[in-house]
Every structure is written in C-alpha cells, then in structure tokens.
C-alpha cells in the first residue's frame, strides 16, 4: 500500500495529465460517434482553461463554479458554431473547426486580459487527482449508458447514413448539435481542471497540434466504445514515461502507431478485444472511423 502511495506521489502529475487527456479524448469521441470529425476541441479546452483561471484569479470565483461557468461558456459558443457548420461534412467540417481553433488561438494572443503570448501564470494548483478521476468515471458512465439509449442509436445512425437517419424520424441538426456542444463542454471542463493542475497556461498550448493530439488519442484508442478514447489517452500519454530512454523518439512511435492503427485497425486498439466483429465489419465495409 505504501509502495502504491509512493508511486502515485512521484507520478502525480502524469496520472493527472492522463486523466485530463482521457476526458479530452472522450470529448472528441462524442462527436466522432455522431459522425463528425472536429478539430476545435483544443479551442474549447482553452476557453474552459482561461475561463476558469481568470474567473478564479480576477473575480474570486470558487473553483467548482469556475469550472462550470467555463464549460457553460464553451457550450454557449459551440451552439452557434455548431449551427453554422452542421451541414458541412467530412474534411470540410474538419477544416472549419481548424479555422475556429486558429481564431481562438489568435484572439488569446491579442486580447488584453488573457496575458497575451505570455499567458496566465501563478494559477493556484487547486486540482486534485480525485477531481479528475471522479469526472472521468462519471462522464464515462454517462456516455456508456447514453450509447445504448435512443440517443446513442440515433447518433450511430447519423454516423452510418445521415440521409437514411433523417427518414427514421431523427432530427439530424438537433442530434449533431447535441454531440458537438456536449464535446465542447466536456473539453472546457477538462481545460479548467488542466489549468489548475499546471500553474500556467499559454495560447500555444491550445493550437492545432493539441487538437490533433486529442483526435489521435480517440482514433488510436478506438471508436466503438468509451473504453477506446480512455485507452488511447492513457497509452499515448504514458508512452513517453515508459519509453523514457527513448523519449526523443516518442513522436515517431506515436506517428507510426497512428498510421498502423488507421490502416490496419481502423476502429482503434480496443477492437483487438473483439477482432471477430471487426473482421465482419471490415468485410462489409463499415469498419472505418467516420
């Protein structure tokens, strides 16, 4: 027991980061599950991070409320954005969300109260590991249950064939928007937690690279279940620690894993647990990520 306590203490930050990355990966997973590929969640994460940090530091808002408000702000922005882009599909949606991400990043560099390029420093380290993991457990549970509900089935139908789904009585816009906004809110929540774990944040933390990284966690881990993004985030975040002597090369491994997965195991590493079903899906051409 003592050894475990020691382990946790030494690797505290990493364990925290794994949890946050898992939450972020789940935020992208929600939208992927509904057939949308978004690269804007790093921007929503930034809104949550800056929102919670600024509210806390400048206005004395208590930490939990700051997190909620950050998520709320993010959801509020995601709504018009989602409405504007819900008709876009595939690469066009990806590009639009990338554009949104860049606009947010540039605004963070320009607006006076964000600390601009230097970002925010001295954020009080209020995040405990149990905050992160409680959030993760709750979110994972809710998403797992939603997956098997009418909503989850509607999302799956939209992902499979949007035109047919519309004729089954599914209000496409409403459901896509719900996934999009939920993802944004979750990313913001993770952002708020992250800001208070790391003491400081700057715009560069939330750019295109970060958005891609989050997507990679979800894609590598796998899309058929909530376990996928959690696995992907854990594996890819822990990888540099495990491969400490090889840390120079960890990006190379990550890139190779990404290519390997998308080419050979397109629904992600979790599908290793159900290879037979994956093969069946591959045979009928329904095995790809989006």
């Amino acid at each position: 027991m003592d050894a475990l306590g020691e382990f946790v203490r030494v690797y505290q930050t990493t364990i925290g980061v794994i949890g946050i990355n898992a939450l972020l990966a789940l935020s992208v997973w929600i939208t992927l599950y509904a057939g949308q590929l978004t690269l804007g969640n790093a921007a929503f994460m930034a809104i949550g991070a800056y929102g919670a940090a600024l509210l806390g530091m400048r206005l004395g808002v208590p930490f939990p409320l700051g997190l909620v408000l950050g998520a709320g702000l993010s959801a509020t922005l995601a709504l018009p954005l989602g409405l504007a882009v819900f008709r876009l599909r595939g690469v066009y949606l990806a590009i639009a969300t990338i554009g949104f991400g860049e606009v947010v990043r540039v605004l963070l560099l320009t607006l006076p109260f964000t600390g601009k390029a230097l970002g925010l420093n001295g954020i009080p380290p209020l995040t405990e590991l149990w905050h992160i993991y409680l959030s993760l457990v709750v979110v994972a549970y809710v998403l797992w249950r939603v997956q098997g509900s009418t909503v989850g089935r509607a999302w799956a139908a939209i992902r499979e064939d949007e035109i047919a789904a519309a004729s089954q009585g599914i209000a496409i816009r409403r459901y896509k928007l719900a996934a999009f906004v939920a993802g944004a809110a979750l990313a913001a929540w993770a952002g708020g937690l992250s800001a208070h774990l790391n003491f400081s944040i700057e715009p560069g933390d939330f750019g295109f690279t970060r958005a891609v990284q989050i997507l990679v966690y979800a894609v590598v881990g796998g899309t058929p279940s909530v376990a996928g993004p959690i696995l992907g985030a854990t594996l890819l975040t822990a990888l540099p620690e495990i491969l400490r002597p090889l840390r120079e090369y960890r990006d190379i491994f990550a890139g190779l894993i990404l290519m390997g997965v998308i080419i050979y195991l397109p629904r992600g590493l979790v599908t290793l647990a159900e290879l037979r079903k994956t093969r069946r899906l591959q045979e009928i051409g329904a095995a790809d990520v989006a």
Binding site: V142, R145, V146, A164, A165, G169, R280, I284, A287
Partner: protein, 250 residues
C-alpha cells in the same frame, strides 16, 4: 386524399428534374409511379420525403401543408420510405436498424438509462421483433451489411414500417428480386393495405405494378404524362412512346 402534390417543381441548375407534377393519393390506395430512367421519379420521392427542397408548388398530407418540413418531421407525421439501392445502417445489427426505424415512436430513454438498472422499454423491442418475424428476418444480431441483398431490402421495409406510418413510399423495392421474392412482396403489400396502410410504389417491374396498383402515374422528363388505372396506362400510346422513344435514343 392522404397525399396531395400541387404543381411540384424542382430545378437543378437549368434543368427541371421535376416540373409541375400533380398527384393525389387516396387513403388505402396502392399508387404506382413509373417512367423511363431519369424521368424524375426518385427526385419526386426525395421532394415528398423532405430530402430536397421544393422550388415551386405545395404538398399536403392528411390535409395539412407539409411543403417545408424536414424529413424527420414528415416521418413523425406518418410518411415513411425506402431508398433506391437500399440505405441501411450497415454497421448496426438487424434489430438495431429496426429500433432506429422506431425512433419517431419511441420515448427517449436516456434519463431512465442513467440508473444502473434502468429498464429498457420492452414494448419497443417486442414490436421490433414482431416486425422482423413478419418480414422473414431470422437473425436479429447479424450486421445489416452482412445480409443477402433480398434480406436487406426486406429489412429496409421493416425499418420503414417500424415508425407506424400511414403512407409508405417504396422506391424500387423489387430491383434484384427473383420472381418468388417479388411474389412475396406483392403479398406483403396486399396485407399492409388491408391493415390500413397507403403505399406509393416506384417500380420498373411491370408485373408488380400492374398486379398491385390501383392507380398509376407516368413521369417523363420530369412531367406527368399520363395517369390512370394500370389497364389504361398499358394501353396508352403516349406511355408506350415514352418508353420506346427513350429506348430508341439509348
């Protein structure tokens, strides 16, 4: 009249895919829609089912104007359809496909499911199961994409029926079916009509159309060129020319 189309038109660029089409389908009827390839039949169906926006004209369903409604709203009102060439949710199971079809009639169970033992609504699964049986689909857990073509077509019909529609639009349901399967389809349609369903059938299979439809409309180049009973249509020189004329050109 259950379904009324007044002067429906749709343009793509400079081309009129559908031009000033009038249709009236009475409740309990089997209404056939035929025409050479490219005549605009599927475009017309897409207009009726809400997938395409109408440029001019109006559509009324059960007396209410539904011209601008989105597909899901039309399904909620009782219009269901199948697609030319089958659009199933291939990666979902047979049962899941039908459950999705039932979406418009199901209550959202999200909140109920948040409780660990939140009981799924047995009624929905039971009625889905009944539909599968009726359509002769034996393996509910098979992936829709794995089914043989004939089974896929029947699954699509089961999915459409799951929403308990008043009007069912079938877009070339018999394509690729052998005579035995077509016969079974004919039987099914008769049984459904006997239960109160109205059907609009788009088909190339002449025997199926003549054998099941009470009224038939013929489209060519986006316009309705003839309408009447199957016998009248078969005898019409205009119709013959439309089909033979296009064969000549081909």
């Amino acid at each position: 009249m259950l379904l009324e189309c007044d002067g429906i038109s749709k343009r793509f660029g400079g081309v009129h895919a559908v031009a000033e089409v009038d249709l009236a389908v009475a409740p309990g009827q089997v209404f056939g829609l035929i025409g050479p390839n490219g005549a605009g039949k599927t475009t017309l169906v897409n207009l009726i089912s809400g997938h395409l926006r109408i440029d001019a004209g109006a559509i009324r369903f059960a007396g209410a104007d539904v011209t601008r409604l989105a597909p899901h709203a039309l399904t909620a009102r009782g219009i269901a359809r199948t697609f030319q060439g089958v659009r199933l949710f291939k990666g979902l199971t047979v049962l899941e496909n039908v459950l999705v079809g039932r979406h418009a009639r199901m209550r959202s169970d999200v909140l109920r499911r948040l409780w660990p033992r939140g009981a799924p609504d047995r009624r929905d699964r039971e009625s889905a199961g009944l539909l599968l049986e009726r359509l002769g689909l034996k393996r509910p857990q098979a992936l829709a994409g794995e089914l043989a073509y004939g089974d896929q077509r029947r699954l699509e019909i089961a999915r459409a029926l799951a929403s308990e529609p008043r009007l069912l639009i079938l877009d070339e349901p018999a394509a690729g079916m052998n005579p035995a399967e077509s016969a079974r389809l004919r039987e099914l349609m008769r049984a459904l009509v006997a239960e109160g369903l109205t059907i609009v059938l788009i088909e190339h299979d002449v025997r199926l159309v003549m054998g099941t439809c009470e009224r038939v409309a013929v489209l060519n180049f986006g316009r309705k060129i003839a309408e009447g009973t199957p016998v009248e249509i078969q005898a019409s020189p205009i119709v013959r020319e439309a089909y033979l004329g296009s064969e000549d050109a081909a």
